[in-house]
């Protein structure tokens, strides 16, 4: 086999993107090369690799190179690995972090943070990833601490407890985002009686640099969107990872649902900045703009998932855009300079909580569940789309994302907030969808218009992230353990590999010494995995796991 050119030049790629689909997108904004340096690939969260040694014509020859076991299967493996200079950094459940030789799979170091035994876990045992920058590896813990490790040795450099988790009912499962000299970290707690925030720490000392409260306090603009004391326990968690645009010097983060989740009678008002996209100055934490996708949410439909930063021509005008797929099953596209609404379109077919989104971004036909009466609502609390991340390919100009078809009966039940406790004010039971079979699908869209190019239907919700590559491939995994490769342009399934446990993490691509690798977590687990048996009883017996599989093409003989 001839050695392939690993990459186009960036300019070449950009030109092809323009010719191919009429959108433009500079690959240097978001494409990864040899490294996969941050959670979303690069800080624009494309999850797109410019590597193309592995492509549509040879993907069927992929062979397993090595497998890494994290040793703790509780909660599965939900992470995105990071690769820098031939070393992979992987986090897993119960505060485990590993540095692994990305060629051999041999461990270089590990760091296990012992969670205080007397402290339970507020939300979950899993961890979704680390940030690597300036010789340090950063991650959050189950007892709500941020930890900095020495990148070479794994030695702990500093650790700061952000808030007592026994009090807040919150912890950190999302990957931090490093922007210049600050590490920015979110928090769970959106379904607890808790006031959410985003905090930045100095990378060297761990000292708090700023905090942005996702719920304004007395005297702050937006405080008037909360009733009484509801702002103190109104949720608004920041449980996923944000993005960063260095040109605009803005950090973008999605904010989760308000609490109580299902009952809004105690928090009348729009409830800013829950279910909002926020743009902050990373140096000060000051709000530049916000866009609220769902004013006064009563469905638990977070806007917390990733913010994909890309550029495209909209009605003849070049725009800097931000794309966020809402848990309620709608994609929102806004101008990332101003926060102005651009477009919205559904990614799920069974949606009854609204009738639609109008041309200005307003929700039309809100369907709020009444108190006390079981009510069918679609999608379920699990979402028309889950947190597992989408991918944007500048080469095809397509967004690759997932939708889920399922509904629930929800019964709203007002309750008093209790510090450190869940604060849902209601219960739910999963139900099949009103139209068609329950299940999931992977779809390719025009990211701005929502025009669908292709769709792959799956028996179960697809709960793993997508990876797209310049080899015109899209990778993802399913709950049955299959790791899948698709033709990025037409959606044909080209290859699959059974990893033995379901997929809930995020695949990546990287290269070392001119050889391209595809890596994927395999390891069933998570809240959603726990809910699936309500509709698919057989999934209760699906094997758990927590391992990382790495694939490459066979060596030239």
């Amino acid at each position: 086999m001839r050695r392939w050119f690993l990459r186009f030049g960036f300019r070449g790629l950009s030109a092809i993107a323009i010719l191919a689909c009429g959108t433009f997108a500079r690959a240097e904004d978001g494409a990864t090369g040899d490294d996969w340096p941050s959670y979303g690939g690069r800080d624009s969260a494309w999850r797109y690799s410019a590597l193309q040694q592995i492509n549509r014509s040879n993907v069927r020859h992929l062979k397993t190179q090595w497998v890494f076991q994290t040793g703790k299967i509780d909660g599965g493996l939900n992470a995105t690995p990071v690769v820098v200079g031939g070393v992979m950094y992987l986090s897993s459940s119960w505060n485990r972090v590993f540095a692994i030789d990305a060629v051999t799979g041999n461990e270089i170091w590990h760091y296990f943070y012992p969670n205080p035994r007397e402290i339970g876990i507020g939300y979950s045992p899993w961890n979704r990833g680390v940030a690597v920058s300036g010789g340090r590896v950063f991650f959050g813990t189950l007892d709500n601490s941020v930890v900095a490790l020495d990148q070479k040795t794994g030695r702990e450099l500093w650790r700061v407890n952000v808030e007592d988790m026994r009090q807040c009912g919150c912890n950190i499962t999302g990957a931090p985002l490093v922007v210049k000299d600050k590490v920015i970290v979110g928090v769970t707690g959106g379904d607890s009686a808790h006031r959410g925030y985003l905090t930045a720490f100095d990378v060297k000392t761990g000292r708090k640099a700023w905090r942005f409260w996702t719920i304004p306090g007395p005297g702050d603009k937006g405080f008037e969107t909360w009733e009484g004391n509801s702002w103190k326990q109104g949720g608004g968690s920041t449980w996923m990872t944000g993005s960063y645009d260095p040109e605009l010097n803005l950090v973008y983060w999605g904010v989760g649902n308000p609490a109580a989740d299902f009952y809004g009678g105690d928090r009348k008002g729009a409830n800013l900045y829950t279910d909002s996209l926020i743009a902050l100055d990373p140096d000060t934490g000051k709000l530049k703009w916000y866009y609220q996708e769902i004013p006064h949410d009563v469905w638990d439909f977070d806007a917390a998932f990733e913010c994909i930063l890309f550029d495209a021509t909209v009605k003849g005008v070049k725009r800097k855009l931000l794309l966020n797929v809402n848990k309620g099953g709608y994609t929102f596209v806004v101008d990332r300079v101003t926060g102005e609404f651009v477009s919205a379109y559904p990614v799920a077919e069974n949606i009854t909580w609204i009738k639609g989104v109008d041309a200005k971004g307003n929700l039309v036909g809100r369907n709020e569940p009444p108190v006390g009466q079981p009510t069918l609502m679609c999608p379920s609390i699990g979402g028309g789309h889950q947190w597992n991340h989408s991918s944007y390919s500048p080469q095809t100009g397509m967004l690759y994302t997932t939708g889920i078809e399922w509904c629930q009966q929800v019964t709203v039940r007002p309750e008093e907030p209790r510090e450190g406790f869940n604060y849902f004010s209601g219960v739910f039971q999963l139900k099949p969808p009103m139209h068609g079979e329950p299940g999931g699908h992977l779809d390719a869209y025009d990211p701005v218009t929502g025009k669908k190019f292709w769709s792959y239907r799956a028996k179960y919700p697809l709960l793993a992230s997508q990876l797209s590559t310049a080899g015109d491939l899209v990778f993802t995994g399913d709950p049955e353990g299959n790791f899948l490769a698709f033709d990025a342009r037409h959606g044909e399934k080209l290859w699959s590999f059974q990893t033995g446990s379901g997929h809930r993490g995020s695949p990546i691509s990287y290269a070392v010494n001119g050889k391209q690798y595809i890596a994927t977590p395999s390891g069933w687990g998570s809240s959603l995995a726990g809910l699936l048996p309500q509709l698919w009883p057989e999934t209760e017996d699906f094997p758990l796991g927590s391992s990382l599989f790495v694939f490459a093409l066979p060596e030239e003989k």
């Binding site: 876990i121 045992p125 009090q167 039940r413 007002p414 209790r418 869940n422 726990g530 809910l531």
Partner: protein, 258 residues
């Protein structure tokens, strides 16, 4: 519901107790992503049809499962509510059918409430201030009643004094245990000592709240010496005199119950 009614008929348990258990379960156990309506499973394991022994359910409900998402409900729910929910879960656990459809839940049924703060009002206000999550509060360095982060000296000494003397002590430098750390790269900060090894020293950096536990190699450290210049009052100033008085009332109540 039919299955529950059938099981109920076969047992000697008070129907009202099971009904209460169902209410408590709905609010605390099936809620959100946990055990699901009818114990059908969620993030928490399925309870329905598991045939779990009642003594096991009783123990786990009281004590929780360490290092898991299952909390200890002792102290969070009343003893009567814990007994009721254990009875209810025991019945779910014996059920062999699928979870029944959800029934309407009248709003007037009354939610289960946790035990509230039962000290005097000024102590209650002080408690809220001590752990006020919306600002930098005492609990980011001090532990009280099993809450807060226990890195700073405990407050027993403070509470043995009179109200006025306690406030004065809190306002004073309180720097007896604070050290000044100088690093070879020129950085300098106030800190509390943590553990040490042959090669490393752990220090709680007090420059900002919350404090940062830093692990330094001895070769990085130029000196560690007492720091009489550090002032606890810099943090205390965020509280008014009235608030401080309430906080001391809370500390005294928490420590000696008065």
């Amino acid at each position: 519901m039919i299955a529950i009614a059938f099981l109920l008929a076969q047992s000697a348990v008070e129907p009202s107790m099971v009904a209460r258990g169902q209410t408590v379960f709905a609010q605390n156990c099936s809620v959100g992503y946990c055990h699901g309506v009818g114990g059908a499973a969620g993030r928490g394991p399925r309870l329905r049809g598991r045939n779990l022994p009642k003594d096991y359910l009783d123990r786990v409900t009281h004590e929780g499962i360490p290092s898991s998402a299952m909390p200890a409900w002792k102290g969070r729910l009343s003893d009567a509510d814990i007994r009721a929910v254990v009875e209810y879960v025991s019945m779910l656990s014996a059920a062999t059918d699928a979870p029944p459809p959800m029934m309407p839940m009248p709003a007037g049924e009354g939610p289960a409430t946790a035990r509230s703060f039962n000290g005097p009002p000024e102590a209650g206000r002080g408690f809220a201030l001590f752990f006020d999550p919306t600002r930098d509060h005492c609990g980011v360095c001090h532990s009280m009643g099993g809450r807060g982060v226990a890195i700073a000296p405990d407050l027993a000494e403070t509470v043995s004094k009179s109200q006025a003397d306690a406030i004065a002590l809190i306002r004073s430098t309180g720097a007896r245990k604070v050290v000044r750390v100088k690093l070879n790269d020129g950085e300098s900060f106030a800190a509390l000592r943590g553990s040490e090894t042959k090669d490393t020293v752990k220090l709680y950096d007090l420059t900002s709240a919350p404090p940062v536990l830093r692990t330094l190699e001895r070769s990085e450290v130029e000196s560690i010496a007492d720091d009489p210049s550090w002032r606890h009052d810099d943090f205390v100033q965020a509280y008014t005199a009235a608030e401080l008085s309430d906080i001391v009332s809370y500390l005294r109540w928490a420590a000696v119950g008065k």
